[in-house]
Symmetry: C2
Subunit: 416 residues, 2 copies
């Protein structure tokens, strides 16, 4: 077969061309390119120089064929689960940069032909050395998928059962996040907290609900019936219409920010004030959360920390097949208090705590850090729902005020 046209004109240089130019063996070029030890500084320099001269690029297909490793990690995303400016996917992308691996992302939407299993299959087909998967893995089928498959798995948000060989997990703090927001509401004096949960097939949904439930139990509060949404603002809106008629509802914890936004919208439409009549918290701290009206109290997902920790441990599992897995680190929990929460209206009675001034009093704007030393959200918001200035919405990646022409990573950008 004739040599293939490579990049640029003619033919791509190969390692043997570099070797000849540098006056070394092809193997030495290979060693240099792979950063192996046992190459003298002199030869290393000559090889790199020759490679530079020729514009040499290592052929990854050939390397994969020869070595049996692709140096790529597959990621299965579910709908938009991993997407967004602050997301695990972006965290993974950042984390993967220095590892020598690249990411291969396959997106799956619930209900489409390609399921999770199909996505995993497609990744294995393409050849990946490891797979990252997030919610949901339904318990029967997909659980042993991870175990059956012969590459290491990183399962984000999976519970303890998934501690099989070469399976690592990360991000098991959802119920801690839920606890933080629930306790925030109880601290404000609400008798109890209603919950708008996510789809129950998702671990994240169940985990958040468990955190809420456990917190209520720990405080000896009554547990109201749970509403279930589908993570979308639309489903939050529907839930809000259901709750709006019930005057006992003074505080609602929505399992994510989108549902919280839809829920608030429904409350406002039905004439209930937020937070004077009903306090609402979300979970995630999406970029617009600080700018909706009222600005949303929420708890930030530790995307970057979780992604980085998880990826590091996955790579470890890939490169040390027989070693013990590295234990997961506990990511930080950052509550961001904005203007969608406040004390309950005067009529409401707190079982365990003092009843605070009801009505129009606004929350002290304050970001609190739980179980971590990181501080957050320096700019605080206060006042009634229409008035407060939103605080910068990403503060661990500090809300740098951006001049025209610069674009912070938190911004949603246009596309065509």
């Amino acid at each position: 077969m004739a040599r293939l046209a490579g990049r640029g004109t003619g033919t791509a240089p190969r390692s043997i061309d570099v070797a000849r130019l540098a006056g070394v063996s092809q193997k030495t070029v290979s060693r240099v390119m792979n950063g192996e030890q046992y190459v003298s500084g002199d030869l290393r320099r000559r090889v790199l120089e020759a490679a530079e001269t020729l514009g040499y690029r290592l052929n990854h297909a050939a390397r994969a064929l020869a070595s049996g490793r692709t140096r790529s990690i597959g990621v299965v995303t579910l709908g938009t689960a991993l997407y967004g400016p602050a997301s695990l996917l972006m965290g993974l992308e950042r984390a993967v940069r220095d590892t020598g691996y690249t990411l291969r992302v396959v997106n799956t939407v619930e209900g489409d032909a390609l399921g999770i299993a199909g996505a995993v299959d497609s990744l294995l087909d393409q050849g990946v050395d490891g797979i990252v998967i997030s919610e949901p893995i339904d318990e029967e089928g997909d659980a042993d998928l991870a175990i059956r498959v012969d590459v290491p798995f990183l399962i984000l948000g999976a519970p303890p059962p998934f501690t099989a060989h070469r399976v690592v997990t990360a991000g098991l703090v959802a119920h801690q996040l839920a606890r933080a927001v629930t306790e925030h509401l109880l601290d404000l004096g609400h008798p109890t907290v209603h919950h708008l949960a996510g789809p129950q097939r998702w671990y994240a949904a169940r985990d958040r609900m468990e955190g809420w439930r456990a917190t209520l139990a720990a405080h000896g509060r009554r547990e109201p019936p749970v509403l279930v949404g589908d993570w979308s603002a639309a489903s939050g809106h529907r839930a809000g219409l259901e709750l709006a008629g019930d005057r006992d509802v003074t505080a609602v914890f929505a399992a994510n920010d989108d549902m919280a936004i839809g829920l608030i919208r429904a409350l406002l439409e039905t004439g209930r004030r937020v937070p004077e009549d009903v306090s609402v918290v979300g979970l995630d701290d999406i970029p617009v959360a600080a700018y909706v009206s009222p600005p949303l109290t929420t708890v930030r997902q530790p995307f970057d920390a979780t992604a980085e920790d998880g990826l590091r441990r996955l790579v470890h599992a890939i490169e040390n097949p027989d070693a013990d897995p590295i234990p997961a680190e506990d990511p930080p929990v950052n509550l961001v208090v904005r203007a969608s929460t406040g004390p309950p209206p005067s009529g409401a009675v707190s079982v365990g705590g003092a009843v605070l001034a009801g009505g129009t009093a606004a929350p002290e704007g304050r970001a609190r850090t739980t179980r971590t030393t990181r501080t957050t959200a320096p700019g605080a918001s206060d006042g009634p729902s229409q008035v407060p200035a939103p605080q910068p919405n990403r503060t661990t990646a500090p809300g740098r005020l951006v001049s025209p022409g610069r674009t912070p990573s938190g911004a949603r950008q246009p596309t065509a």
Copy 2:
């Protein structure tokens, strides 16, 4: 070298194993796997059966090495430009499914070490047959990047100059989208429309601004000074604080929805009502746009249509290096009228049109389709800003009302 352990136990089957089992040559297996012609139905069946029996998976690295083609397409994303539930990236993912190609995504954030050029480089390094890139390509350096590189390029949102060999473009409708929202505001009777633009290095930003400018000119309206943001809600908020003092401002077109949301928030904080005092439109129709208060009038980005059209033409360019490029299709333009726009306050005078009833009158809720026969947004919103029920927010992909347990693709989902 010893055979490598493959998937499952032991060793992965190779095409030669399939060949032996089926009693044919390796080449015939190759032909079947690649869907080539000139294989009898009988042999094809035997081969597929044998492959099934052995659990054969084609080794993509070996194929890439032998054929010189990787069957993968690289995508460069900029910050979150391509992300999100409704996004070009998801459109590309859907579109790529049946092409036999896979996507390799490299994300870049403005200001990080990896620039666009670095991302392209990294993709070429990994070996891709084509590259998709979106905004921005800055005019000097990156322009000829596309041309210098030896694989076909799809540039999303690029203007006509980029019609070099093997470069195709798509999504050149930004100024039509801008025109749609600007005309909507003028139709309501506003004397003129202010503009909050995106960063001027982005084609999308300039294109949107041009659409706005041309529309004003066509209607003989004064062109107010332009504000510039960075696509983020935070920058929209800052712009809103600047505009709030100016009583001449009755209508603002923000170049994307996030900035519009931040802008509305700033107006509300400073005591201006939306839309009674100021009408605000965005651009994109992000999922929460229907649920913020007031629900946002915007124009939908034709993500799927653009992605599909662009990808189809890129694949054509890859597979037919010498053929003429397929011309781009004009994607639809869908204006979604919600509650953030209305007639100007009584004092304001429209130069070219009748002055409509000012103050609290609300817009007729209606989704309008421009330059296309597709209908959109059946549910309409009306009434003052706090009251209207939001309409389902994705209507071309119809806003199916979702029961618990199902998750529509428009929902933002949790991650751990």
